[in-house]
Amino acid sequence: MTTMPLLQIDNLSVTMMPPGAAPVPILSDVSLTLDKGATLGIVGESGSGKSMLSLAIMGLLPPTARAAGTIALNGRQLLTLPESAWCRIRGRRIGMIFQEPMTALNPAMRIGDQIAEGIIWHRGVARAVARRAAIDLLDQVRIPDAKRRAASYPHEMSGGQRQRVGIAIALALQPDLMIADEPTTALDVTVQAEILDILDELVRERGMALIIISHDLGVIARAAHRTIVMYAGTGMEAGPTVALLRDPRHPYTTGLLAAMPRRRPGVGSGPGSRLATIPGTVPGFADMPAGCRFAGRCARQTGACREATPAWRLFGSDGGRGVRCLHAQLDAAEPDRPEPDRVMPL
């Protein structure tokens, strides 16, 4: 690809500078690129900095955070942008579906008006037009009786309905890059499928780029071509979603896959059956061990793992995969599954 990628992040690090305490590095050495129309999934430990990464891209880091490295949108540096310039980028160029629907909504404003507000602000249409567009959007995200519900306040909506209002606000502006931070956690699977369909359509038809953060590997599999697995503030493994899920190379990825609760057709959930877990918990950012951040919890760790931070190593037929583990096996040919998709058609 000779053209400039839509989003390019190089060596991004984010450090918390709490007053009167030692700085706490949250993100370190995160790099990724995203082209127009591409989709990227981010999975990873809770607290590993996924939301922080998306806030950095949106220029919404908390005041105590300092970012270093580069984030470029269409070649334009975002980290050094003044606040005034951000207003034209947020919403229109980069849209975000926030993880916390309640904090992203104004509790004192009817939801219909909140959606319309963005439309008026960025598109300069008349209030009545925006209102109608807002109701259409609510309908699209499957809020029953959208016209009436537009007059509701956020606290009168169910958790999933609030989340869908957040989605409608982000969709309203049709941004070039959409960051969806756990967009469907509060939705039932049928609505979730419909929301993912809407995002798909925008990706396919408008060439929107999508970053989707989720703990649900099923959602990632469904919505993202490529996936990056994060752990304790850095990328551990990345690659095409199919390859990553079928043939994980990092022990953390393997652990995640094993911990996934699955329906087990034919098996009774006998008493005493437990889910597999990864032993231990993430080390705090303030006392990150030297060497590999996963070492303390890893079954495959050796002395070498604790000495130096493993480098990011590229592999795969076209260098399309990367992993940060000393013991990851790189050479084994990727199982050639030309059409791995849709083993189970709907």
């Binding site: 904090t103 009168e156 958790g159 034919g266």
Partner: protein, 344 residues
């Protein structure tokens, strides 16, 4: 079953008042005649459409709201008939984990105060030191560091906050815990830990759970029985495994089909373009005489549009509210195959 169930919900109906202004609407019926009971020491999974009234039901079970009609019996006592003082004393026995970890923690309080809050119901309040010790032990058991006690909620990620909320719910050692989407904000490994924790609590202390979730896999892993809700009504209930393997209601079937699966990569091949607009009738107003699911139902017949199916026992232990449950039962008498054709 000879022992009375720990929790018994009968004929629960709840209306939210219509909003004035914008055309004063009729009341919104969030729950419509829901009855279910949960035996002590079991985990009841509740799944259903977003906005179908699960959280409303949870709030009513916690006696945080009064239903428009219906009763909640906890341990044989009608919660809404108790005096305020008696209810307060009872509260130590049932606690709740709220759906939204960002809204359920007071931003101005330290984690210690938040987690210790339910200790308020105890007759003898623990001393400062004892309280600190109990909070620390609780934080430990949900996988947070003891130091977390002095921090404020905004210093935690979503998943970490949810663990704080879980610690708060467990600190009085309740007999019933209502977990409203308690694990949906957690990453897979912590989620597995929390699910295991719930299973442990049930085994070692006989804690009963009402476990509300959209994650069918998680529900299947831990629930003994499940209930499926749609538009304020219970449409199917039964042993978790049996229901998931052999759904008798078309909505349950639809849910299972829509469940994302890591084996399915990429968007599904495009089916007949889904109806995009308003396939849902208004969820409000006079309870319509039709089956609420009729507009989306592949099995719909004329009868469904004029007569509302009531919940009935199809076979012992399995209740379904659908006119064509027998058809469903016959059509999928074998465990569902993921690729089974789904035609009426």
């Amino acid at each position: 079953m000879t022992a009375a169930p720990l929790l018994e919900i009968r004929g629960m109906t709840h209306d939210y008042a219509g909003r004035a202004g914008f055309g004063r609407g009729p009341a919104l019926r969030a729950l419509d005649n829901v009855s279910l009971s949960i035996d002590a020491g079991t985990i009841f999974g509740l799944v259903g459409e977003s906005g179908c009234g699960k959280s409303t039901l949870a709030r009513l079970v916690m006696a945080l709201d009064r239903p428009s009609a219906g009763t909640v019996r906890f341990d044989g006592e009608d919660l809404f008939a108790l005096s305020a003082a008696a209810l307060k004393r009872k509260r130590r026995a049932f606690q709740m984990v709220f759906q939204d970890p960002f809204g359920s923690l007071d931003p101005r309080q330290t984690v210690e105060r938040i987690v210790a809050e339910p200790l308020h119901v105890l007759e003898t309040r623990p001393s400062r030191d004892e309280q600190r010790e109990r909070v620390a032990a609780m934080l430990d058991s949900v996988g947070l560091h003891r130091d977390a006690a002095t921090l404020y909620p905004h210093q935690f990620s979503g998943g970490q906050r949810q663990r704080i909320a879980i610690a708060r719910a467990l600190i009085t050692e309740p007999r019933l815990v209502v977990a409203d989407e308690a694990v949906s904000a957690l990453d897979l490994s912590v989620q597995a830990q929390v699910l295991n924790l719930l299973l442990d609590l049930r085994e070692t202390r006989g804690v009963t759970f009402l476990f509300i979730s959209h994650n069918l896999g998680a529900v299947d892993c831990i629930a003994d029985r499940i209930g499926v809700m749609y538009r304020g009504r219970l449409v199917e209930s039964g042993p978790a495994h049996a229901v998931f393997e052999h759904p008798h209601h078309p909505y349950t079937r639809l849910l299972l089909e829509a469940e994302p699966d890591i084996a399915r990569i990429g968007p599904p091949p495009h089916r007949s373009q889904p109806q995009t607009r308003s396939l849902s009738p208004p969820a409000v107003g006079v309870p319509s005489p039709a089956c609420a699911f009729a507009p989306r139902c592949p099995l719909v017949t004329d009868r469904c549009r004029i007569e509302r199916p009531e919940l009935r026992t199809l076979v012992p232990g399995r209740d379904v509210a659908c006119h064509h449950a027998e058809t469903m039962r016959a059509a999928f008498s074998r465990p569902t195959q993921p690729d089974a054709e789904f035609v009426p």
